[in-house]
């Protein structure tokens, strides 16, 4: 056989891949520094990370409308990936303001942390911009393996190791399921590209449905949808709190993105299967998450269950495979990434105050000793609950509206029930902070960077809630763009 007919060399268009390349190079510089230097200077490592991420962010912002495919159509850049890249890079930069102080307090400083963070960011960035099953698989592994390692980066903490191990085992299972699903999809379509597979009107529809369901189940484990959620509370509780914040924001965006990319490709022939499967999963997820969060004593675990419940709300939007569904889901995802991250970061700062156990009663009277943290935490909790001036209300209303387009009234009604249940635990914390007497005297000050980034996130939650058009003007055209293709 002639080799030339098998291999065709296409030089990659690196202009499309540039942000990922910068993040990769940043990771490699940090890696080299770790090898060369005896003891890495954390200020240097954070400085290099932020510099690299800022360059990547600037490039994405300046070339927001860049579109194209490269690496033999493996890699796709469009407005969808650009928007998610902007959010993921921004949240990673915010995270870096919190990690060092926390690690210093917990006496678990690792120089590996910085480049594992940048490799996981690289994986997430590739994951949101690919239609290819093989590349999705590799990017998924890159993100997950980084998460397993980062979950365990806490010295002398049994819970952290236990959570990481559970995450590793179930993550391995999810990868196996997803690749098994990919096999069936390939059998059906004869291609690795999701667009070609799902546009094909082939004879063996059952292979397609089986493959898609297995593929979705693989992602469902990663996202933490309810029958597959067992690792999530343990991993979120055991992980160092800034890492939990990272997993609940950037991780959520990354794991949801391929599912959102499948939404416009849903065909008429399996449209009903898609709607029913995802709607049922969504209802189970948000009801279970909210009910179990209600009885938690530990606030970090409670927020982990609230994260499961929010995955349910997002899945309810995903079951509506139409333009309005994509719009609602993307907005919800971005809004949740901010509020989820903010709520966990407040805990990360509070944990530095000495004997802090994250128990609910410790929050009583927090307004007196830490007025700033109490305010920020209240804003994030109200946004998670969905109280009108915050963005949480707007995105929940959007998902509700998209459900009405598909006439999924039972999901919509149960969603209201779920939100009603969630009032119990979010408001209890706010009441404890603002209406009870002080239980614990906390004497410490968050650093300036921490205060600044928390303030920016809290303000953005309120501003996006009052002027939702700021983000809508980006989300609306890109959702229509995804459907045009």
């Amino acid at each position: 056989m002639e080799i030339k007919s098998l291999i065709s060399i296409e030089y990659p268009n690196l202009a499309l891949f540039f942000p990922e390349l910068i993040v990769l190079i940043t990771g490699f510089i940090l890696f080299t520094l770790d090898i060369i230097l005896k003891r890495i200077s954390h200020r240097l490592a954070i400085g290099i990370s932020i510099m690299g991420y800022l360059i990547a962010l600037l490039y994405v912002l300046l070339n927001f409308d860049l579109k194209g495919e490269t690496f033999y159509n493996l890699y796709v850049r469009d407005q969808f990936s650009s928007l998610l890249h902007v959010f993921m890079i921004l949240l990673t930069i915010v995270l870096l303001a919190f990690t060092y102080e926390y690690q210093k307090f917990k006496r678990s400083i690792y120089s590996e942390f910085y480049y594992i963070l940048s490799f996981s960011l690289l994986g997430s960035m590739i994951l949101v911009s690919s239609y290819n099953l093989l590349l999705i698989y590799i990017a998924l592994e890159a993100v997950s393996v980084s998460f397993y390692i980062m979950t365990a980066l806490q010295k002398k903490d049994f819970n952290s190791k236990e959570g990481a191990f559970k995450y590793l085992i179930l993550g391995g299972l999810s990868i196996a399921l997803a690749s098994y699903g990919a096999v069936f999809l390939y059998l059906y379509g004869g291609s690795m590209d999701l667009r070609q597979i799902l546009h094909l009107d082939g004879p063996n529809k059952e292979l397609l449905i089986l493959g898609l369901i297995l593929f979705l189940f693989g992602f469902a484990i990663k996202i933490g949808v309810v029958p597959f959620h067992f690792w999530l509370p343990d991993a979120y509780q055991g992980a160092p709190t800034p890492i939990t914040a990272y997993m609940a924001s950037v991780g959520k965006i990354a794991f949801f993105a391929p599912v959102i990319r499948v939404m416009p490709l849903v065909q008429e022939s399996f449209h009903k299967t898609w709607v029913i499967t995802l709607a049922v999963l969504a209802v189970i997820t948000f009801l279970y998450g909210n009910v179990v969060a209600l009885v938690q004593k530990d606030v970090k675990r409670m927020l982990a269950y609230s994260s499961i419940a929010h995955s349910g709300f997002i899945l309810a939007g995903i079951s509506v495979a139409e333009t309005i569904g994509v719009k609602a889901v993307v907005y919800f995802l971005l809004a949740y990434s901010i509020m989820g991250m903010l709520s966990f970061l407040v805990l990360a700062v509070l944990e530095r105050s000495g004997a802090w156990e994250n128990q609910i009663q410790e929050f009583s009277g927090l307004r007196l000793s830490q007025p700033f943290l109490a305010l920020v935490f209240a804003v994030s909790l109200l946004s998670l609950l969905g109280v009108p001036p915050t963005v949480g209300f707007f995105v929940k209303a959007l998902v509700f509206m998209s459900l009405s387009f598909e006439a999924l009234w039972w999901v919509a009604i149960l969603m209201i029930v779920g939100v009603g249940i969630s009032t119990g635990y979010y408001l209890r914390l706010v009441v404890l902070m603002y209406m009870k007497e002080e239980e614990k005297k906390l004497t410490f000050n968050p650093t300036g960077f921490e205060k600044l980034s928390m303030a920016i996130m809290a303000v953005s939650l309120i501003v996006l809630g009052m002027l939702p058009m700021i983000l809508w003007d980006y989300i609306s055209p890109l959702s229509e763009m995804l459907f045009r293709r």
Binding site: I3, I7, I9, F28, F31, T32, D34, I35
Partner: protein, 124 residues
């Protein structure tokens, strides 16, 4: 239905094998002695009665390093076949690949995985 004979064959095979083992157990002469149950270790007395020691972490890490270079070799062979056709492009790609793997080795070296002179306290 075409494979029913095959399935029956598998069951017969399994049945005969189980029967043989069972007959051996039933009819074979038994003369147990303490020395017969003693594990064989090159004719010397046992180091460890339970033979259930934990391995040093270094073995696992060395296994990982072995995997690293196994994969490198597995990718190098097909590359040599198409080397002339790929030319400078393939050369640069392969250089990057090996460079990244070498970084892995450097990292392992730096973190002391190749250092097998254990301190006394680490050995159980």
């Amino acid at each position: 239905m075409d494979y029913l004979g095959f399935l029956a064959f598998a069951f017969v095979m399994l049945g005969i094998a189980l029967l043989m083992v069972f007959l051996n157990y039933l009819l074979g002469p038994k003369a147990p002695s303490s020395l017969k149950d003693y594990p064989y270790e090159c004719g010397v007395p046992l180091y460890d009665k339970s033979a259930q020691t934990t391995f040093h972490q270094g073995y696992y890490l060395l296994g990982l390093l072995l995997l690293l270079f196994d994969i490198e070799a597995a990718f190098l062979f097909p590359w040599t076949v198409v080397y002339r056709y790929l030319g400078i492009f393939g050369f640069v790609e392969m250089f990057l690949f090996i460079f990244i793997l070498t970084y892995g080795l450097l990292y392992a070296w730096r973190k002391g995985i190749l250092d097998w002179q254990f301190e006394e306290e680490y050995i159980d």
